[in-house]
Symmetry: C2
Subunit: 198 residues, 2 copies
Amino acid sequence: MHSPLIQDLINHLKYLPGVGNKSATRMAYYLLEQNKAAALKIANSLQQAVEKIHHCESCRILTENKICQICADLSRDEKTLCIVGSPADVFAIEQSGIFKGYYFVLMGSLSPLDGIGPNELGLPKLFEKVNKENFQEIILATSTTVEGEGTANYIINELHDFSGTVTRIAFGVPLGGDLEYVDGSTLGHAFSGRKPIS
Amino acid sequence: MHSPLIQDLINHLKYLPGVGNKSATRMAYYLLEQNKAAALKIANSLQQAVEKIHHCESCRILTENKICQICADLSRDEKTLCIVGSPADVFAIEQSGIFKGYYFVLMGSLSPLDGIGPNELGLPKLFEKVNKENFQEIILATSTTVEGEGTANYIINELHDFSGTVTRIAFGVPLGGDLEYVDGSTLGHAFSGRKPIS
């Protein structure tokens, strides 16, 4: 029905997460009817990014430089390392302003069935980094999914020779969360992780 | 926070309709982490489409050919012409299978304040087409918005010399629509357009 080039464009826009046939059609016609300049800007940015973006050599986050902005910032706390699953986690933590150390980004979770093992997550590089640098605390901030927990446990096992502290971020009821709307597993974490009030 | 190239990509993805900062960030990282091939396909399609897609010389729909597939199909009913506001309207009508004639796509509505006059909607071309070809019925299927109605009325006025019939699609309660959820204007149309039951 659509002309072949437009149909191609719609099919390709559907690769975007959260974009189905209707949204892709709307996007394609919007760009072609009303904003060809934006279409070219998107195309150009995609090509530039695919060509130049790669993993930071130190923390595996995505960057166009050899070393990312965070790893290159010498004013940060060199004694703590936070291990997270994805770049989005880094931005969430950075926006909270709560953490001032360095990061290591796994870019995923261990998932043997999908062929994602320790090498795919750059774990040899992580252990090399831990041995070479002088961290006093390693904070595991992988997510609470089964894969995230599995990955955290694997890393904890491998770090048994680490002389500093290995910690896991706390799980429990979120601030402002109404108890009645919190799911059972979270409540379980909140109870099992309860602390005495001084 | 994001590296400059990724930030550019996110900013440009936000031009897509319905895409805000969070979605654009998710799209950018998904493409760069997991599907660089898709990113290049999208970039390539966008460039190809921007370069080659233009208005059909006959009906103004978007196509990469001189004449679109519908206008080039000589098996259609040459006696009826349907005037619609956008390519999406054409696809909706085509999918219903209810209409077999030809189309003229205005690519918008009259809106003098936004600088959209008869020339921007290709109306001189429409009137030339009506004079040259041998239509017996012209169906106005512009939308029911104030602009759509205004555009329909303008075209009706200009077509006063047309020897065939000019019709407007019917407005009323949609099939399967529960009366209590139908808005007042639609109910107004449904009542004023009521028909005797033979």
